[in-house]
Amino acid sequence: MEKILQVKDLELSFNTFGGEVKAIRGVNFDLYKGETLAIVGESGSGKSVTTKSIMRLLPESSAEFKNGEILFGGRDLTKLSDKEMQKIRGKDISMIFQDPMTSLNPTMPIGRQITEPLLKHQKISKTEARKVAIDLLRLVGMPKPELRMKQYPHQFSGGQRQRIVIAISLACNPQILIADEPTTALDVTIQAQILELMKDLQKKIDTSIIFITHDLGVVANVADRVAVMYGGKIVEIGTVDEIFYNPQHPYTWGLLSSMPSLDTEDAKLYAIPGTPPDLLDPPKGDAFALRSEYAMKIDMEMDPPFFKISDTHMAATWLLHPDAPQVEPPLSVIERMKKFPGSRYYEGSAN
């Protein structure tokens, strides 16, 4: 599969009054053509910062690349000038944001907001751009697009606005679409519609999607592969089945256990104890060790490297080291693993 984007050893810090906040501490991943990669993790894990750094949308005054590169089309995005980035933004890489209620300009008709990237990046006339914009609105399922071009954002509902934002992001047929929690601010029924729309559109225009979310239900629905982030690092990455049915990192176990499911019999919902690490002063060793009941001595001392589980599946935990003791994952995770061929709890095809 063709790699369209490579993030290598990315390290990024924010310079604040309190000191240097190490928001991304060595992130590696590849994005393949046409796939959907979900990045999951709790607030402050660095998932949004990672994608915003790909777009270079972080404030230049405080955010600073410390190390690593972001390779796209043979170029390192961390090194491009702002002028060069402007040519990539909205054309090759575009973005959908979390809150559709605030991400459209309230004083500009939506038609102009959709045609803006077209006129910016493509040599077409205003009338042509208008036609394309109407087609885009139709594509994202907006009824009567011709009439709605002149309307302002406040005349649309939240779901409709997110459709408009999606139309804007797709205007120039980007190679990469970054969706930063695109459904978080929407109510559940609209969420499902927007996810359906995105899946549908991806098939039509064959773009790669980076989908940021903290909602594992959404991940299962849209993703091909999943990267789990914690404390500014990716701790586990694999296909969606591998992450959901053969997770290896204690943090992934915690995430999955804290997801309510229909089979959960005991009424109490599991929550990972403790709080995320302070990235102003990241802990030594495995950042999750302090919250993990599986932590070993070495977790407090040394950062775990990535251990390969399969060609597509890697996790950064000392538990995978040959010398590590065998531990029992939480019960709900074992239940999941029972369904995964290749896991040590596999019970043959279920049902």
């Binding site: 002028k83 402007q86 990539i88 909205g90 605030t102 300009n105 309230p106 803006e116 910016k120």
Partner: protein, 311 residues
């Protein structure tokens, strides 16, 4: 829209009636009369004058006579300042210079203020930003009469670029008073635009515009500017008041034959009908400004576009 404006006009009439009533009785409460200082008049002559202007009628009669005239558009005649001249004519003849320096001051102040505020916001925490803050503080804290005298001294007397006072050289005469009047709107606009631009530039739709590939200037002018203007419109009303009250003083200092100068004098000599007429004129002006401001809101911000009498 038409219904909305109609409704507003009714409110305007009510407001005006209240203002006229208040001013009328306030004036009557104050000691003094238009002919108090006319020592040369014999008691008989005094009685004749008082009878002619109805100054001896009972207060309610005077009030209703005045209001009746007002409804018909008759502001009465000047008692002593302009000796029998029609008040409307007096005001109209005085309007030109006032309108000119007021308009010039307002335009100069807002345009420069907006520019200054924009630059300050786009170059936040740079020397441009700090100097714009200083300019704004000076503009707000130095009273217009001090500033006017400084202009007269430096630009008028020392450099001789503009006439020091009087209304004789057309546009050149209007420059210094316009600058003096512009300081308040300039300072206000600069502060408002700076604060608002900084807030707007941090909003999600600006990030989205950036994500579309818009350049810095496109973001500032196409996306941020219009949104940053909205709160400025709110202070346009108060700014117009500032120009108006400023003009009372500034016209005195520059000896400009405008309404402000004439208003101040009419108060000094107790010319009732001129005071009344000018107050009403100013009130109409301000109420109109506020109406225009409300309509402008709708033009700039589509979210508060007025429709069919509903807000």
């Amino acid at each position: 829209m038409a219904r909305y404006i109609g409704k507003r006009i009714i409110y305007m009439v009510i407001t005006l009636a209240l203002i006229a009533t208040f001013t009328f009785f306030l004036m009557k409460i104050l000691p003094g009369s238009p002919i108090a200082s006319a020592d040369k008049l014999s008691p008989e002559q005094r009685a004749v004058v008082e009878a002619r202007y109805g100054l001896n009628d009972p207060l309610p009669v005077q009030y209703f006579n005045y209001m009746f005239g007002l409804v018909q558009g008759d502001l009465g005649v000047s008692i002593n300042q302009f000796k029998g001249a029609n008040v409307t004519d007096v005001i109209l003849s005085r309007m030109g210079p006032s309108a000119q320096i007021g308009f010039q001051g307002m335009v100069l102040g807002t345009v420069l203020g907006i520019l200054l505020g924009m630059i300050a916001a786009l170059r936040q925490n740079s020397w441009v930003d700090y100097s714009s803050t200083v300019v704004a503080i000076i503009g707000i804290s130095i009273p217009s009469f001090v500033f006017a005298s400084m202009l007269q001294y430096f630009l008028g007397l020392k450099l001789g670029w503009f006439p020091v006072a009087l209304w004789k050289d057309g546009f050149m005469s209007s420059v210094l008073p316009s600058i003096a009047l512009a300081m308040f709107p300039l300072a206000t606009a600069a502060r408002f635009i700076r604060t608002e631009m900084i807030e707007v530039l941090g909003s999600d739709y600006i990030t989205l515009a950036k994500a579309k590939g818009a350049s810095g200037s496109e973001i500032a002018f196409k996306h941020a500017f219009r949104n940053a203007l909205i709160p400025l419109i709110t202070v346009l009303g108060p700014m117009a008041v500032g120009i108006l009250t400023g003009s009372l003083v500034v016209e005195q200092i520059f000896a400009i034959p405008g309404i402000g100068e004439q208003f101040v004098k009419s108060i000094m000599v107790n010319d009732f009908s001129i005071i009344m007429g000018t107050t009403i004129f100013f009130s109409v002006f301000l109420i109109l400004v506020i109406l225009i401001v409300d309509i402008m809101y709708g033009i700039i911000d589509p979210r508060i576009r007025l429709s069919g009498g509903k807000s």
